[in-house]
Symmetry: C2
Subunit: 467 residues, 2 copies
Amino acid sequence: MNTYKRLDQDDLKNITAFINRDRILWDNEINEEYSHDELSAKQHYPDMVVRAVSTEEISKLMHYASENHIAVTPRGAGTGLVGASVAIEHGIMLDTTLMNHFIELDEQNLTLTVEPGVLLMELADYVEKHGYLYPPDPGEKSATIGGNISTNAGGMRAVKFGVTRDYVRGLEVVLADGTIMTLGGKVVKNSSGYDLKDMIIGSEGTLAIITKAVLKLLPLPKKSVSLLVPFPTLAEAIRAVPPIIKSKAVPTAIEFMEREVIMDAEEYLGRKFPDNQADAYLLLKFDGNSMEEIASYYDKVAQICLQQGAIDLLIADTDERAESIWKARGAFLEAIKSSTTMMDEVDVVVPRSLVHNFVEYIHQLQSEMQIRIKCFGHAGDGNLHAYILKDQLSDEQWDKILNLTMDKLYSKARSLNGNVSGEHGIGYAKKEYLRNSVSDKAVVLMQGIKKVFDPLDILNPHKVCQE
Amino acid sequence: MNTYKRLDQDDLKNITAFINRDRILWDNEINEEYSHDELSAKQHYPDMVVRAVSTEEISKLMHYASENHIAVTPRGAGTGLVGASVAIEHGIMLDTTLMNHFIELDEQNLTLTVEPGVLLMELADYVEKHGYLYPPDPGEKSATIGGNISTNAGGMRAVKFGVTRDYVRGLEVVLADGTIMTLGGKVVKNSSGYDLKDMIIGSEGTLAIITKAVLKLLPLPKKSVSLLVPFPTLAEAIRAVPPIIKSKAVPTAIEFMEREVIMDAEEYLGRKFPDNQADAYLLLKFDGNSMEEIASYYDKVAQICLQQGAIDLLIADTDERAESIWKARGAFLEAIKSSTTMMDEVDVVVPRSLVHNFVEYIHQLQSEMQIRIKCFGHAGDGNLHAYILKDQLSDEQWDKILNLTMDKLYSKARSLNGNVSGEHGIGYAKKEYLRNSVSDKAVVLMQGIKKVFDPLDILNPHKVCQE
């Protein structure tokens, strides 16, 4: 067992020599927020929080941490769901939210260079104002781009545009020993040695600290239309997705949602959803440069939905109508959370042709386990979010039922050739399930890679593949 | 220095126990082709060539090789340009070209599962027949998909669609010790531990042997138009590209070409290029689902080209006209090769806004070094192919001038924040230039990763980052 140095007054003094004291939180200056992420059951306080403002500061800090064998937990906005940004070994929490500058919009290369603390919503506003799109679109808009890169976040537009990984052209990172390294750049192609950049993306702060990112942008589509399609049952809604994909129409997003979750969102937001006639809905979005182009897609998709049993078709071609629907969609996580005492989640991804199997299994498991499971997600890319709710269960009952339910859900995902996480990551909470879903040899490779990048295991210990 | 076992009659006997003798080439059964790739100056014969037909065979072979410390060089069609598929340490050459089956077209998940020996041209035909597009489009259509994945091949459509990496959803690989491993799958998103799949992609057969690939497909665009634009000079042609990118039109491809190279292609193909009025050309392609959609793009681009000094605009909206142009483009490498006695290449990639700097430097270097350098490439994604020609130089002069020219070209690329290889890889020939272009620490990380995957260094030794 690796033991880490806990910080004392000497460390505070030493670190204050290269980091301004007013950007160091120490002892009771450390807010409760820093002891958990969005979903942690347990609190873990770091000994110190450092709010860095530059790559050089982070380099010095990592050098100090490696010399003194101090655990360092990088953290963006703390919106994660799997404990990746929780300081299990105390030590230093490295908060990058003050590094939130837009460094360069390069319109000749279609790249945007940013610091890691820029929030997703700020990024979206910035590029749209300049006529560009940064396609990854996770529900949590107050996450940082650094956090999004660290989990390879996906979001709703993955059906058409892919995930965060597909939009990171270059990174500047600081390694565990303080080395500053640039990976990739503004270049469109690269076959120059092993792909260290993609190894960092999705590594949840365990291999290096992201201090700068060069993102790929697309021209902003001029028009978009959303289509809300009510179905009698969720099974019918989800079964309509493979024929849509097969039809060669290319929706930007295909989300599924159930009445119960929509009702939670109505209550949470204090506003009505535009439709209430059905138990289940598909919500589709189409983008393009002209209404004719988009219409050719959604006409075809509308036909397919009706053939598959859709009750109605609601076209949201004004900003207001579309916003009221997508706002509800965006509030699902918070709405479900506020409907119960405690919850945990699975974020599995399965081949998109098999989403209905998984959803039917969830329904069956609810009765079998006598527990509420709320579910919504990305029907178009096979990534489901299922939330298991504690409600009035005792802590003891909850632990037992939760573990059993989790085991069953992940085991079902494996049987469908799915993976543990589509976009939330592994962090601390899903380590055991990752272990069960990949081979022992794959874990050995991951641990070997961890050791290459961070031989002292000081960067975000006990996460992803580490004991 | 690692020493490898050379194969003897006992090895032949042992390997024949699990590989059919008629798929083993031994001694003088080994064709000269297997001693080099498309551009090697020196011959290196393997002791044995194994033409594998299954993952299980490859697993057994790697197990045998690791037990006996035999070097193994994986090889597809041998069309590489940097020596990655050359058996420097003799040993076993593992030829995967007989593993050339289409395993599954999954239209609900838009994936195609193939064996590694499928040729790029076969793949293109197959998916187009079913109404799909596999976007990566390298010039060398007789390369295997396994080779393409191993170099992260790019090609002409990268401007719009990206590179091979972006279209590999899953891999089955055999590790150096014979372990069979599946990475990724049909899933669209994945945040389940470190990204081993992307580590294999572009690793040029040094980390694992690819035995199966799940590729992502797109619906085939219904229409396409090519635009050939003559310019008075290459500099003017290339300077038109950044304004095109900035205009938010999205061409599928933007290639540049010079009269001299076109003349080589005319001679090589024995047919005339459709235009001969200019010293330099841009060749653009636009794809879409209707002519209206495409016209809106190329009208804008045509205006920009004229503003930037284009002499004329030639629209190829029939298959015949387009084919005659793209056929010439496809023959450039062979045509240049046949115009000289020997050549070597650089495949640098620079930010696309800086391509003109690099091309101007090449022109200057030609006079400075008194050597012919032919150049063409992907103006839209910053990836240039420059060929340095030996012509009538003596071997001694050639070695000297080639080395000096190479040093200068790579040094220029570095100064433009470029990378050593956009799509051809590092292999054996570009190792030294990779070393000069990345930090020592990056090389240490790469070598560490190599050791994790292949601790005995038997897989394709002396390539990419290894001594």
